[in-house]
């Protein structure tokens, strides 16, 4: 790996925290509907959970065993942990300030969280009833001081802790009453929200509050001197970490202990907990000082995601934007007919994912199709794609599916449907050793009067019709001969039928994608050095690869105009004199999850445009099987370039990265008409197209076909 001066590289963890902060700023954005704001807040919570389990956990192990190893920004693990703690403490305070504000607004709209002492009458009776009949029977409090071995606390579960004064235990030498610590685990089978009867609006009480208020019932004869709610986050196990911290795993493998219990990486306590309780729990959990966070409100804000799904409060949510299908796709009898005539570029979720699904289903049923190949990664539970593949195999077609089982948290579910596919006669390949298959490609080989023809779908998103309504992704459908040959060769290479070979147009990681990207960047650099113009526009989720960052800096010094739209982590430092003056980094965080990787290189005026499944990160370019697809079709390319342009034009959902590593929100006056919202613009354009087609239909009269014509 090349070395960069450490100041030229922004620490990856801190950059991630800034991304989470941008999500938090969406939660703080008063121009947005309140339940959407709550959703953003919940996302910051679940994001942080994962960050602690995967990233902080990894760093903690490193700091204990290998603290001299510095990251590209020159920070030792312990320094990173300290910085993370500082930043997260501020962020948590912001989260709860935001929570309070949202709660006020929700209360005004009729969504009301009550505390146990506020309950009266019927509500109080109901709470009592629920506690006695549904909660208490399943709780099993544990006194910690008289156990032979400390129990293992469950990752991310809520607990109520109490200090008990027991007169029976006698007094200590110093005359203080004996104190013992007990905890009440709140099992995950119990719902967090307890709905209360109400005459209007939605009233609820949180389960931990209820349990805390009734805690004394569990310890008869003892008095509760101190009480607190807390939550523990543990280090994720190594297999889980493969997905989010490949860079750390290599280092960790040599030092990791065989022990099953993972360390406590975070202890969250409610704001009212006493110092004594904090010390007792820290000691009990062996939690380092910088692992403790105080919550000024309910713990685990991610749980409030459930509240955003409340029905009947549509006025507190975004106006729905139902996905549209381009009119020219609706009228054709078969997707094959359209793709044979023209390439199709779809931009989800503004445009529907249905045509892609329809294409796969038609391929499965079309008697002319002889073979089908597809990669599957994080597909939805009852995926119609999977059903289509099984159907195709049952119909005697040769079907190959590359199934990636390592998709985080989905493993068991994946195995189940993968076995079903095998039973149906599909050749299922369970990924490639040591590499995660992240490429998204589908081929149907079809016998036509002029010979065999390959029809492909290349995408930036998973074959998952559910996430396709939330993630913004590009789909490219084509029967281009070169891309077909490449797609076949790609499958042959991952199924082990052939050695990797040079492709005609595409590029695949880990064998040549990084090199291709760098050579595309260098080509722009070279053009500028020779006095021509050079520019790059690229949109991706994260940018961390030092080799690519280095190439971008060199390009900037040659005068290449570089506009990056990076949703998440960006380790590149833009706009720095003598380093990156010509680089601008924007980030869009908003209604949809930016997920499309679209890159444009000016190439002396003959723009080269690509879609890709990879980010410019080590894990994507070095440890995964990813696909880079050039889009040479004129209309599709123009569409992608327009998408890029609008993304950079956006102010409503965008931030700009400053040279010092901080982010500046582009929209100063929230909600003002001056702001340009690319999401709205994308949707408007899509609607405009389909509405125009409808209008055209209305103004044109179509006669019935004569009997002869119908034949």
């Amino acid at each position: 790996m090349s070395t960069l001066p450490k100041t030229d590289y922004i620490n990856r963890e801190l950059s991630w925290l800034e991304f989470n902060d941008r999500v938090l700023q969406c939660a703080q954005d008063a121009s947005l509907p309140v339940l959407e704001r709550l959703k953003f807040l919940a996302i910051t919570g679940s994001n942080l959970d994962e960050f602690f389990m995967v990233r902080v956990g990894g760093l903690q192990i490193l700091s204990k065993k290998n603290d001299y190893k510095k990251d590209p920004a020159g920070m030792r693990p312990s320094e990173q942990l300290a910085a993370i703690h500082r930043r997260t403490t501020v962020m948590v305070a912001d989260q709860y300030r935001c929570f309070s504000e949202l709660e006020r607004l929700l209360t005004a709209s009729g969504v009301h969280r009550l505390l146990p002492h506020e309950l009266a009458g019927e509500q109080s009776r109901h709470a009592d009833y629920v506690f006695d009949n549904e909660i208490a029977p399943v709780l099993s409090p544990m006194a910690l001081s008289n156990l032979p071995q400390n129990p293992l606390l469950v990752n991310r579960m809520l607990y109520v802790a109490v200090h008990l004064n027991s007169p029976a235990a006698g007094a200590t030498r110093k005359g203080h009453p004996a104190r013992r610590l007990a905890i009440i685990p709140i099992g995950k089978s119990l719902g967090r929200f307890i709905t209360l009867p109400s005459d209007g609006g939605y009233h609820f009480v949180l389960i931990e509050d209820l349990i805390a208020s009734f805690a004394s019932r569990f310890f008869p004869g003892e008095t509760i001197s101190d009480i607190a709610r807390f939550r523990v986050t543990r280090n994720a196990d190594v297999s889980l970490r493969e997905d989010g911290a490949e860079d750390l795993v290599a280092e960790m493998e040599s030092v990791i202990d065989a022990r099953k219990r993972s360390d406590c990486v975070r202890l969250e306590l409610d704001g009212n907990a006493s110092q004594g309780m904090q010390s007792a729990l820290s000691a009990f959990l062996d939690a380092p000082g910088n692992a403790v966070y105080r919550a000024n409100g309910p713990l685990d804000v991610s749980a409030f995601m459930r509240l955003t799904e409340l029905s009947g409060y549509d006025n507190l949510k975004y106006k729905p934007w139902p996905a549209r299908t381009p009119p020219y796709l609706k009228s054709a009898p078969l997707m094959f007919d359209i793709i044979a005539k023209r390439d199709v570029l779809l931009f989800h979720p503004y445009e529907s994912f249905d045509p892609v699904l329809r294409f796969v289903q038609e391929a499965a049923r079309d008697p002319q199709v002889v073979a089908i190949k597809q990669t599957l990664y994080r597909t939805s539970k009852k995926s119609p794609m999977v059903a289509a593949l099984a159907e195709a195999a049952a119909a005697g077609k040769y079907v190959t599916a590359i199934v990636e089982l390592k998709a985080r948290f989905d493993e068991e579910r994946n195995i189940e449907w993968a076995t079903e596919l095998e039973d149906a006669g599909v050749q299922v390949i369970y990924g490639v050793k040591g590499l995660k298959t992240h490429a998204k490609v589908f081929i149907a080989i079809r016998r036509e009067p002029n010979g065999l023809r390959r029809y492909m779908h290349f995408g930036t998103g998973n074959y998952n019709e559910i996430t396709a309504t939330i993630y913004s992704d590009a789909s490219y459908l084509t029967c281009n001969e070169d891309l077909g040959a490449d797609a076949s060769a790609f499958f042959n290479s991952i199924t082990g039928n052939t050695q990797a070979q040079k492709y005609r147009k595409i590029e695949a990681a880990p064998l040549g994608l990084k090199e291709r990207v760098i050579s595309l960047i260098e080509a722009e650099t070279e053009r500028c050095l020779q006095g021509q113009r050079g520019s790059i526009q690229a949109k991706m989720n994260s940018l961390t690869h030092p080799d690519i960052i280095k190439a971008l800096y060199a390009a900037s010094q040659a005068g290449v105009k570089i506009s990056l739209n990076v949703r998440g982590i960006c380790c590149l430092r833009p706009g720095d004199k003598g380093l990156s003056e010509t680089i601008v980094v924007h980030s869009i965080v908003g209604r949809f999850l930016e997920h499309a990787r679209i890159w444009r290189f000016e190439n002396g005026g003959k723009d080269k445009v690509f879609i890709c499944t990879a980010d410019w990160m080590q894990r994507n370019l070095d440890k995964r099987i990813e696909l880079l697809t050039p889009v040479d079709d004129r209309d599709s390319r123009a569409r992608l370039m327009r998408i890029l342009d609008l993304c950079f034009k956006d102010t409503a959902n965008s931030w700009r990265l400053r040279a010092d590593g901080t982010w500046e929100k582009l929209s100063n006056n929230t909600g003002s008409r001056k702001d340009f919202n690319c999401h709205a613009a994308f949707y408007d354009e899509v609607c405009e197209k389909s509405d125009r087609a409808k209008r055209m239909k209305r103004t044109m009269f179509e006669t019935h076909k004569s009997v002869k014509q119908r034949k």
Binding site: V370, Y398, E481, A485, S488, N497, A500
Partner: protein, 526 residues
């Protein structure tokens, strides 16, 4: 029934496949053929195998390697099934040097057939050259700038180097040298040469072959050099940003040399790591690039052309054309025969005349000999070459002709066909075939008959130009009971030819059961 279905319609809906079992890898191309007969590749698969390593160092293919080949062919088989390719006439599987030279080649081929149902056919050098030519012709014809002047097409394979010399798309000469990239590697390993010496050894080995090449191909005539194979295409990928392997690309020799220098400093392991290539590919990279660079220098060229010409492509062309050796192909064979005839300073006018007379006799006797155009081609080549032995010594020149033919680089003919031509020239005078004659006796019956039928005709044709003055022309042939009458116009004095025929007509009589006689036109009643 549709009557006007074009010939290629069947091929169009039926993709075909070529499997090439080479020195370092097994490759397969699946292609479909469009109505104009051009094949479009659908898939290309490649798997490294150490066949060459086994054969060149141990003489035999190891059991493990055989099973590797079985596994690879089984994988390929699955891809073939996806395309519905199951019949033999749609797959052609060939093996080259590494299998050909292996002691256990028959066992190898049997094992492949038993395990995978794929019949592997062994190609000799001449087959490879012929097939490469077919590919080269179709690709170079698309780009006029590449076929200007004399063009050398060369490929350094793992076990041998094949060279074609083309002028205006026509074959001028073909050569095959026993210098191969893998052979070079193996040689270095056998000598256990230290890294510092490896380069010197390779250079001196290549220099030796280049000296031989320059002996056959004068450097001054060469305008372009096209290099084939994965190694040079790999270099093209590195040197040209937007390299499209389907199109020929010019690599400046200087740049190629610089890149070769870079490769030369790397070990095979380093190549694999740095260029993300397979081991078999990495092993041949340095030797073959070095060879192309040195050859380019030897020809004083400024660039080397990388192209997609390949034997596999040639096989595809051969599989898809309706009649196996087309007229154009025959023309190339004949051209190559003339090159050799000139080299041995033959009497061109005589050779041309005898060949033409033989052709006329061959046509007149079609009913008797029942031979096709391929045999006619062999007769033509034998006619052109029948007297080249005079270059050595007029005495027993038929015997000299025979071994010269046997050892010439006759383009387009297989070893067996060349032996037939050699025997036809041998029997153009003096002794008729005897069981004592080793080469003749070694042939199967069909081949022996072909030699006899064709040599008999050549003898008569040669007798007719006994004067070497080409005065016998415009002959008319007729059968008259047990006589085969050759009527000659415009010649009064036929005594010379009549005597010659008495001497040389014996074999004709034995084979066709008729006595050949020459008469003045109108002298006989028929």
């Amino acid at each position: 029934m549709k009557k006007n279905t074009p010939v290629h319609a069947v091929a169009t809906s039926n993709p075909i496949a070529v499997v090439d079992i080479g020195t370092t890898s097994i490759r397969m191309t699946v292609a479909q053929v469009d109505p104009s007969g051009i094949s479009h590749p659908l898939e290309f698969l490649q798997q490294g195998v150490s066949l060459g390593k086994d054969t060149f160092t141990k003489g035999n293919i190891e059991k493990g390697t055989i099973e590797e080949c079985v596994r690879t062919l089984k994988n390929f088989r699955r891809v073939l099934e996806e395309y519905g390719i199951t019949q033999d006439d749609r797959i052609r599987a060939v093996a080259t040097t590494a299998v050909r030279e292996a002691g256990n080649r028959d066992a190898f081929i049997d094992r492949m057939y038993i395990a995978t149902g794929i019949r592997v056919e062994i190609l000799d050098d001449r087959d490879v050259t012929r097939l490469t030519y077919l590919s080269a012709r179709s690709l170079l014809s698309r780009d006029a700038s590449l076929s200007r002047g004399q063009v050398v097409v060369c490929e350094m394979g793992g076990g041998s180097t094949e060279m074609l010399l083309l002028a205006k798309g026509n074959i001028v000469a073909t050569h095959s040298f026993k210098l191969g990239a893998l052979r070079l590697r193996e040689m270095l390993e056998k000598f256990n040469a230290p890294v510092s010496r490896q380069r010197t050894l390779m250079v001196s080995e290549i220099k030796r072959t280049i000296t031989q090449i320059l002996h056959s191909i004068p450097a001054s005539t060469i305008r372009n050099m096209t290099a084939l194979g994965g190694d040079v295409r790999f270099a093209a990928h590195r040197l040209i940003p937007d390299y499209n392997p389907l199109l020929p690309a010019r690599l400046p020799l200087g740049a190629l040399e610089n890149f070769t220098e870079e490769v030369m400093t790397l070990s095979v392991n380093d190549c694999v790591r740095k260029y993300k290539m397979s081991f078999p590919d990495a092993e041949t990279l340095a030797p073959s690039l070095l060879f192309y660079c040195m050859l380019g220098r030897a020809f004083s060229l400024k660039s080397v052309i990388a192209s997609d010409i390949s034997m596999r492509h040639g096989i595809l062309i051969e599989m898809t054309r309706s009649e196996p050796p087309g007229d154009d192909f025959a023309r190339q064979v004949i051209r190559s025969a003339w090159e050799i005839a000139r080299k041995y300073k033959c009497d061109e006018a005589h050779a041309r005349h005898v060949t033409s007379l033989a052709g006329e006799l061959f046509s007149s006797l079609a009913e008797e000999h029942q031979c096709g155009p391929w045999h006619k081609l062999l007769l033509t080549v034998a006619g052109i070459l029948h007297d080249i032995g005079i270059f050595i010594n007029p005495r027993s020149h038929h015997k000299h002709s025979m071994y010269l033919v046997q050892n010439s680089e006759l383009f387009g003919l297989s070893r067996r066909d060349i032996l037939l031509v050699a025997l036809i020239t041998r029997y153009h005078r003096r002794a008729t075939p005897k069981a004592l004659h080793q080469e003749y006796a070694g042939l199967d019956r069909e081949a022996r008959l072909a030699v006899a039928k064709l040599a008999a005709i050549l003898r008569v044709a040669d007798a007719l130009d006994r004067s070497h003055s080409q005065r016998i022309a415009g002959i008319l042939c007729a059968r008259d009971k047990d006589r085969f009458v050759i009527a000659v116009p415009h010649v009064d004095d036929l005594a010379l030819e009549q005597v010659a025929l008495q001497n040389k007509g014996d074999m004709f009589e034995e084979v066709y059961g008729m006595t050949p006689v020459v008469e003045k036109k109108g002298a006989s009643q028929f």
